[in-house]
């Protein structure tokens, strides 16, 4: 990898985080595809830069996808002292007494897996949150949420170099991995803090050229945030260079950092963190301070000034370790800096709205506890919330009249509390798809009402693939499971040609295992399932061969079908299971689908032949 590229990436990182720290409106950075181990290093670096800019210690906190309300906002906690156990309020990550006074850095390891509670909290309480998001999952994240992040960095990790470096540093130097902040950045940040920059009309004109273009606004204009972020970033870059007015180079650099640089815009050759070449002093901004640092050198980038002829010098060349530390870190040249504008929507409608308890099996204890509520039924009492509730009232006079056991806690009925659970869907949808039976049949159209059923109920999804030509083990069925229909793996799993083998018996066996797990395990078990079977019933792999993952030896005869029927019978005993059989109307053994339907007491719908587009036209 060319040294210049490598340093550009490292430089871009420090430069961008510094800009985000300097301009309050830029205090949110989104990293695409950053692995968790790198994210922690970057969060630590960002915290140090924030500490430097705000002149006070800034710590960072991870905000995981399944955070509880208590941890986010605060809760009463028991505390023991000489007077016994007392309750004291513990502030959450998002709501402390110092909120708004001390910057706090929150880190979200994966934006695409945030639960509605956490996502809503982020929308409401954005304050310096660098999250990571897999770019492939961008369609799963609410654009309303993504739009809050002013700066996005696209990463491509050149695997082992950086990882090896991190491991080496952890083993030889300290247990924690730290991305060093080059010391000269202290000078740059100190200078930038004292500096203020404005946009003159020329730069404003250039900036406005970008407003409304597809590059910055997507297919349609999307509010003002992106333009404002671009302007603020330009200002921050100017401040880092000690300029009082934003220069053309600052805007171009900001465009580059945001991935907005036009293809036809000539790229400046200097390193991204570097000031413009000083070849012609008369062209320099007259507003730029002429200050020199006490050492007599220009504090800005003196080691790497391209005007001095070392255009290819790495940014961190003056430091003993940094170049190696970020070796392997490379930026993607994103064609689309705002991928959410173009991504297929893989999210649910209203993804920031949690399911309501009334909509989904009220009273069922599905999700994890997220709070407490007064009990309706004493059998659902939760001990800790009850004790905490009772503790609040102990000193109230009317309590003293109640008998207490060994001077313990007085608990009245009104104190009893039950957990409030995160509502989760309690439906399961399972599709058994025999790819060898649907050639030339329009099975997608026939399946649509059932997919609609699954979507509307936010059902969990299981797909059992039988006879797919792309199967790694053709003698076995493959099982896919996903949280809902919008998981991209499901769509991919439905796209295959039919192969030679039809391990239908194994398919039914896998359906049984899947349903047993979905409907019988844990408190989140589904209460209703729908199984859709698409097959002509002509299995040709006995179950034993599937279990041994081997090609059937010799002529199997009807063994594959007999095994499949036996396995199908076992499904008929599952309660609360709706079965739908989509009959592809095979030319041979056309009675078989009906036989399976009878065993499973299934509704039968037929699948018509596929009508090609050409024939329609």
């Amino acid at each position: 990898m060319p040294a210049n590229n490598r340093m550009s990436a490292a430089d871009r990182l420090v430069q961008t985080l510094s800009a985000a720290a300097l301009e309050p409106g830029l205090g949110s950075v989104l990293l695409w595809d950053a692995p968790e181990w790198l994210l922690t290093g970057i969060a630590d670096l960002f915290a140090r830069i924030l500490s430097q800019v705000h002149d006070q210690n800034v710590a960072w906190f991870p905000l995981m996808s399944g955070e509880t309300e208590d941890r986010m906002w605060g809760c009463w906690q028991p505390r023991s002292d000489s007077n016994g156990v007392r309750l004291s309020w513990k502030s959450g990550l998002l709501a402390g007494p110092d909120q708004g006074k001390v910057p706090r850095l929150l880190v979200l390891p994966d934006l695409s897996t945030l639960e509605p509670l956490t996502a809503r909290a982020c929308v409401e309480a954005m304050s310096g949150v660098p999250p990571a998001c897999p770019s492939a999952s961008v369609g799963m994240v609410s654009p309303h949420l993504l739009d809050r992040w002013a700066i996005r960095l696209a990463w491509r990790i050149d695997g082992k170099d950086l990882r090896q470096c991190r491991l080496s540093q952890c083993l030889t130097q300290s247990e924690t991995w730290e991305i060093p902040l080059p010391t000269r950045w202290n000078t740059i940040l100190d200078q930038a803090r004292k500096c203020s920059a404005t946009l003159d009309s020329t730069i404003m004109d250039r900036l406005m050229e970008w407003t409304g273009t597809e590059a910055i606004s997507g297919e349609s204009v999307q509010g003002y945030r992106r333009t404002i972020a671009l302007a603020r970033l330009s200002i921050a870059l100017a401040r880092m260079q000690g300029c009082n007015t934003v220069q053309k180079e600052n805007l171009e650099e900001a465009l580059k950092l945001l991935g907005l640089e036009r293809k036809n815009t000539p790229r400046p050759r200097q390193n991204s963190a570097l000031p413009p070449p000083e070849a012609n002093p008369s062209e320099k901004n007259t507003n730029k301070p002429e200050k020199k640092d006490p050492s007599g050198e220009n504090p800005n980038f003196s080691e790497v000034n391209p005007g001095k002829g070392n255009e290819q010098d790495p940014v961190f060349s003056g430091e003993p370790h940094p170049p190696e530390t970020l070796e392997g870190l490379e930026f993607c040249e994103e064609e689309k800096p705002y991928p959410e504008d173009h991504a297929d929507s893989l999210r649910e409608n209203s993804p920031l709205r949690p399911l309501s308890g009334t909509q989904w099996a009220e009273g069922q204890h599905h999700g994890r506890p997220i709070g407490s509520k007064p009990v309706q039924d004493p059998s659902e009492m939760a001990i800790i919330p009850t004790v905490l509730e009772a503790a609040k009232w102990q000193a109230v006079p009317h309590r003293s009249s109640h008998a207490r056991v060994n001077n313990g806690l007085s608990i009245l009925f009104s104190d009893l509390r039950a957990h409030r659970y995160l509502a989760k869907p309690d439906h399961q949808f399972v599709l058994l798809l025999d790819f060898t039976s649907v050639t030339g049949r329009d099975w997608e159209k026939a399946l649509f009402p059932d997919l609609h059923w699954a979507y509307v109920r936010r059902a969990r999804i299981g797909v059992v693939r039988v006879g797919a030509a792309d199967a790694a083990h053709p003698w076995c069925a493959q099982r896919l499971e996903a949280r809902n229909l919008l998981d991209p793996r499901i769509l991919r799993g439905l796209q295959a040609e039919g192969g030679q083998a039809t391990p239908l018996a194994d398919g039914f066996r896998q359906v049984r295992l899947l349903l047993r797990k979905a409907m019988g395990h844990g408190r989140g078990a589904a209460t209703l399932a729908r199984l859709v079977i698409i097959t002509d019933g002509r299995g040709n792999v006995p179950l034993e061969d599937s279990l041994l993952n081997r090609a059937p030896p010799g002529n199997v005869g009807a063994k594959g079908i007999e095994d499949a029927i036996i396995q199908a019978r076992s499904l008929a005993m599952i309660r609360n299971l709706q079965v739908v059989l989509l009959d592809p109307q095979p030319r041979y053994l056309s009675h078989l689908p009906g036989q399976y339907a009878a065993i499973l007491k299934a509704w039968v719908r037929t699948i018509g032949p596929r009508v090609e587009q050409e024939s329609i036209s």
Binding site: R193, L352, P397
Partner: protein, 319 residues
């Protein structure tokens, strides 16, 4: 030291007079301030269109630099209506801690992302906003009836789901916020935001802000006083009913809000102009979220044809 508030936090509020465009938003906020019983304002628009900015700026202007009381999205019923003070409770004292509704008395209660809030909390807020009365009865104690008056403003991005029609109807006024498409206005918006950033960084005050704030408050407070003296004419009442019928609006709330909003506008602009002109301006704010299409989740913008329809109905009424 730099201001530590990040993410464009509460310390960085754009002055109200520096808002560019957004005339319907401004009108709705001002009407609701003059007559809080209009029942609140719902600002619905896509991300980044300046909804929250406008609300904060307005509250900052009319409440002497204070930000609106903001309802957190995780607000519990206790926090909204009030409850026993837990700290005092543990010391053996029963002391009531007022909720956010009481905190907002005399000012603005702002509910960002109102479509993400639990429906029962929204119901409570809307009840108080439209009746100005808060009664709390819980945990063995009844609080005396309290009169509470605030301007309710909710914002939402419809991409994240809508409000049920029953809740929509309870908002007096609604504005579909869209962004300025005019490049000069967009330029001015950017310039104003960056100016404000700079002032915040340098801890400067905008010399015009204080005077503009006073002018606005004087104008709106005078309108409030004038409104108290106003009586609705029978023609106004007839026109409000005619409009509501023509737009097939269910219930009577729209008639009432139309009349109050038209009177509030008349109080703000104490001229001799006919109430028809006032109705023409407030009709979109009152009727657009109550049209039958809204019940099916459609978010159709208020069209020129509908403006013409209002004009036609009012001209017939005149005859």
């Amino acid at each position: 030291m730099s201001n530590p508030t990040m993410g464009g936090g509460s310390g960085n509020v754009l002055p109200y007079h520096r808002l560019v465009g957004q005339n319907a938003v401004k009108l709705a906020l001002e009407l609701s301030y003059v007559v809080p019983r209009i029942g609140g304002v719902l600002l619905s628009g896509r991300r980044g269109t300046g909804k929250s900015t406008a609300v904060r700026a307005f509250s900052h202007a009319v409440k002497d630099g204070e930000l609106p009381v903001t309802l957190p999205i995780n607000a519990t019923e206790d926090r909204v209506v009030g409850g026993w003070d837990v700290t005092k409770l543990m010391a053996g004292k029963l002391e009531w801690k007022p909720g956010l509704l009481e905190d907002a008395h005399g000012g603005t209660l702002y509910v960002d992302e109102i479509n993400l809030l639990d429906d029962h909390i929204v119901n409570i807020i809307l009840d108080v906003a439209s009746t100005n009365i808060l009664v709390v009865q819980r945990e063995g104690g009844q609080r005396e009836k309290r009169n509470i008056e605030f301007t309710l403003v909710g914002t939402m991005n419809p991409e994240e789901g809508g409000l049920r029609p029953q809740l929509l109807d309870r908002f007096g006024l609604s504005v579909n916020v869209s962004e300025e498409m005019d490049s000069n206005n967009r330029r001015q918006i950017l310039s104003n935001v960056l100016d404000q950033d700079r002032r915040q960084r340098l801890n400067e005050t905008d010399p015009e802000t204080q005077q503009e704030r006073k002018n606005l408050k004087d104008r709106l407070d005078s309108a409030r006083e004038r409104f108290k003296e106003m009586k609705p004419s029978s023609e106004l009442i007839g026109d409000c009913v005619a409009l509501a019928e023509a737009f097939q609006v269910e219930g009577h709330r729209s008639d009432l809000v139309l009349a109050r909003a038209a009177m509030a506008l008349a109080a703000m602009e104490p001229s001799e102009t006919s109430h028809h002109a006032h109705l023409q301006r407030v009709a979109p704010l009152v009727l657009q979220h109550r049209r039958p299409e809204a019940a099916s989740g459609e978010r159709l913008p208020w069209s020129d044809q509908e403006n013409e329809k209002v004009k036609e109905i009012l001209s017939h009424a005149r005859k």
